[in-house]
């Protein structure tokens, strides 16, 4: 399969993380906003965690994709190989 899942997944978590982080910063000084979460700015901190996770996934996915492309250049695709054999 030539779609590495880590790329869309990394993208989703990066976006969600960024949204939560920005929202967390903008609500940081709103009084009473984080009473529910025991005074902890859950949006900001968890947003940052998501952001780091998302970016790491994205990096790994991009690296994997590049490696796949590199390998794809050297040996021919197994599907094509089958076609060639049938041609003989």
């Amino acid at each position: 399969m030539s779609l590495d899942l880590r790329i869309p997944m990394g993208l989703l978590f990066t976006l969600v993380g960024a949204i939560l982080t920005v929202f967390g910063i903008s609500t940081n000084s709103t009084p009473g906003f984080y009473d529910q979460s025991l005074g902890i700015n859950a949006n900001l901190w968890w947003g940052l965690v998501q952001l780091v996770f998302g970016l790491a996934m994205l990096y790994l996915g991009r690296r994997g994709q590049k490696q796949m492309e590199k390998q794809g250049l050297l040996p021919p695709d197994p599907h094509d190989e089958g076609d060639v054999r049938r041609g003989h």
């Binding site: 779609l3 899942l5 979460s37």
Partner: protein
């Protein structure tokens, strides 16, 4: 519930990505193998995470939280005994036959190993069960959305009648699941299951951390719940001394050996993800990789329930304060069902009278299913609340999706291709698979609506499923490890096992239950201390009956020639070549490590 734009943004973003993955995968779906088996080309870690997520539907997430609130840490047996050993077993011993036989589905394996009628029986019952399960999942999701008032604000803003929320939730989830399966097949389902796996962690880990912090850490939790709630093994020697009312034989044999293995080793819903991996070593690793997070999931799904029970119960109270010399009294009114509850788990309310429901001894009945959702509402401010809800919705939808892909594969390969239209082109079967997806989802919707009109339908369905599933593992065990087992034996055993499960249920009753749906509908000759004990022992009876009948009938019928069974039976299959130069990279080494950690966790929380 007050959702703001940020919450909606996160939810919509998730839906966009789910559909986006479907569209991105569409161009890779060229053959039926791509669609039904993900081309058998996925890496082990993706299949492994999908293997566990396929089971981690919302009923599991909500149900384990509910069980944690009701029974405490003993619930973790469903993981430690009910899942981990079975996952290790299927990876090490059974996967070589599933994957190596080149069967495209579990029923097809039964045809290769036994005969046509065993396959037909299994395929039909499985197809019916998956459609109903996905319908039940849909119904549960729509009900939860109603209860939590997720769409109420949206409906008010659009000026729609709130009665439409149920239909809206069902149609929305059906449409999204339909689209992404129709486009990307099993790959789509697996990718979304992995996405859901991480979303569940993202949504529930902060919940557990906040909950633990609020209650004062692990020691604070210990101090606020009854002592037996914090022990997994205390009092399991006898049914009357532990919260679940089970004893060690029923637990070990019934849950561990029969039910756990029956589910993790034979249910195509989970096996399909392992069969989609790229080679034999990966396929064997899939259940093992899945077992690693599975060991730690009790912390994510059971603990929220336990924390919900341990938190202080809100009561109506008045706070007096002095503002600018004037005395101000502020009264917080708490609804009676919340006040009658325990922790933040409310009592059940009779929908007609609006009064709190009481059990036989006058205690309020608790609505345990709300334990986990209430934790989300209690601790999450807007923003991260959107993430928590998205995780919950994701688990509902991927639970449905797994069922739907299992259904379309079994329908197309085992029913349509075998009995309705043989010898069609691959393109034809690909199209049939796509339309089977549509059909399966329409049937699921019908089930969800049937569940509104007939109250007992869910319980009845789950009961019937348990009759069909209980004896299954014996058939596979005999098939893979006893070359003398025959098709007639397997078929007769399955029928006898299901019949035994029904008879057992008809003759026994948990104490404090009335004869009927809970058992005893023939005559009551035995009382069990709890419905769980009844369930476990029913499975033991079904398994044993299947085993004995299958052995007797097999010995009386003609065995298949051994040459036909190579690759299907353990003793006739050459050992898989050891592809690893280093011993610690082999699946066996991983399996041993998992078992050691699992035993360690059980001792620690004993």
């Amino acid at each position: 519930m007050n959702l703001t734009r940020v919450d909606w943004l996160i939810m919509v973003l998730y839906f966009v990505f789910v559909l986006g993955i479907g569209f991105a995968l569409k161009r890779f779906m060229k053959t039926s193998k791509d669609f039904f088996q993900a081309g058998r080309a996925l890496p082990a870690w993706i299949c492994g995470l999908a293997f566990i997520s396929a089971n981690l539907g919302a009923q599991e997430v909500i149900g384990m939280g509910a069980s944690g609130a009701k029974y405490g840490l003993e619930t973790a047996h469903f993981y430690g005994i009910g899942a981990i050993p079975a996952m290790v077993f299927v990876g090490i011993f059974m996967m070589p036959f599933y994957y190596g036989s080149k069967a495209r589905s579990v029923p097809e394996f039964l045809r290769l190993r036994f005969d046509e009628k065993t396959r037909a029986l299994n395929a039909c019952s499985f197809a019916v069960m998956t459609v109903f399960s996905s319908g039940i999942s849909m119904y549960a999701m729509a009900r939860l959305i109603q209860t939590l008032h997720v769409f109420d604000g949206l409906f008010r803003a659009l000026g729609w009648a709130p009665e439409g929320i149920f239909t809206f939730s069902i149609c929305l989830s059906a449409l999204i699941v339909l689209l992404y399966i129709f486009l990307g097949g099993l790959t789509s389902a697996i990718y979304n299951e992995v996405l859901q796996f991480f979303l569940i962690i993202a949504g529930f880990l902060p919940l557990v951390l906040l909950g633990l912090r609020n209650i004062g850490g692990w020691s604070g939790l210990k101090a606020s719940v009854p002592v037996q709630y914090m022990h997994e093994w205390r009092g399991v020697a006898h049914a009357s001394t532990n919260p679940m009312g089970i004893e060690i034989i029923g637990l070990g044999m019934g849950l561990g050996f029969v039910l756990g293995s029956g589910y993790w080793c034979t249910d195509f819903l989970v096996i399909q993800t392992a069969m989609a991996s790229k080679n034999m070593v990966s396929a064997r690793r899939v259940p093992l990789i899945a077992a690693i997070p599975k060991m730690f999931f009790p912390f994510l799904v059971i603990l929220p329930g336990l924390l919900a029970i341990g938190l202080p119960t809100p009561h109506t109270h008045t706070v007096e304060s002095t503002v600018n010399g004037a005395i101000v009294r502020e009264t917080t009114v708490v609804r009676p069902e919340v006040e009658a509850g325990r922790g933040i788990v409310p009592a059940k309310v009779n929908p007609r009278t609006g009064e709190v429901m009481l059990d036989a001894s006058g205690q309020p009945l608790l609505d345990y299913d709300l334990a986990t959702p209430n934790m989300l509402l209690h601790f999450f401010p807007t923003g991260i609340l959107g993430l928590g809800l998205t995780a919950l919705l994701a688990s509902f939808m991927s639970g449905m999706a797994g069922n739907v892909t299992a259904f379309n594969t079994v329908f197309t390969y085992d029913l349509y291709q075998s009995y309705i239209h043989k010898g069609g082109s691959d393109r034809h079967y690909l199209a049939v698979g796509r339309w089977a997806t549509v059909g399966g989802i329409l049937f699921s919707i019908a089930t969800a609506y049937a569940a509104i009109s007939f109250n007992d339908i869910m319980d009845t369905l789950q009961l019937v499923f348990s009759f069909v599933n209980a004896p299954l593992f014996a058939t596979f065990l005999l098939g893979m490890f006893w070359k003398r087992a025959t098709g007639h034996g397997a078929f007769a055993g399955l029928i006898a096992g299901t019949a035994a499960a029904m008879v057992h249920h008809g003759l026994t009753l948990p104490i404090e239950a009335h004869p009927g749906i809970h058992g005893g509908w023939i005559a009551v000759i035995h009382h069990y201390p709890s419905d769980m004990a009844q369930n476990f022992w029913g499975a033991i009876f079904a398994f044993s009956t299947n085993f004995i009948v299958a052995v007797i009938v097999s010995l009386c019928t003609k065995p298949r020639p051994e040459a036909e069974l190579v690759g299907l039976v353990h003793s006739l299959t050459p050992k898989p070549p050891r592809a690893h130069s280093v011993w610690w990279k082999s699946p066996e080494a991983l399996a041993v490590a998992i078992l050691v950690v699992a035993v360690g966790l059980n001792i620690f929380f004993a």
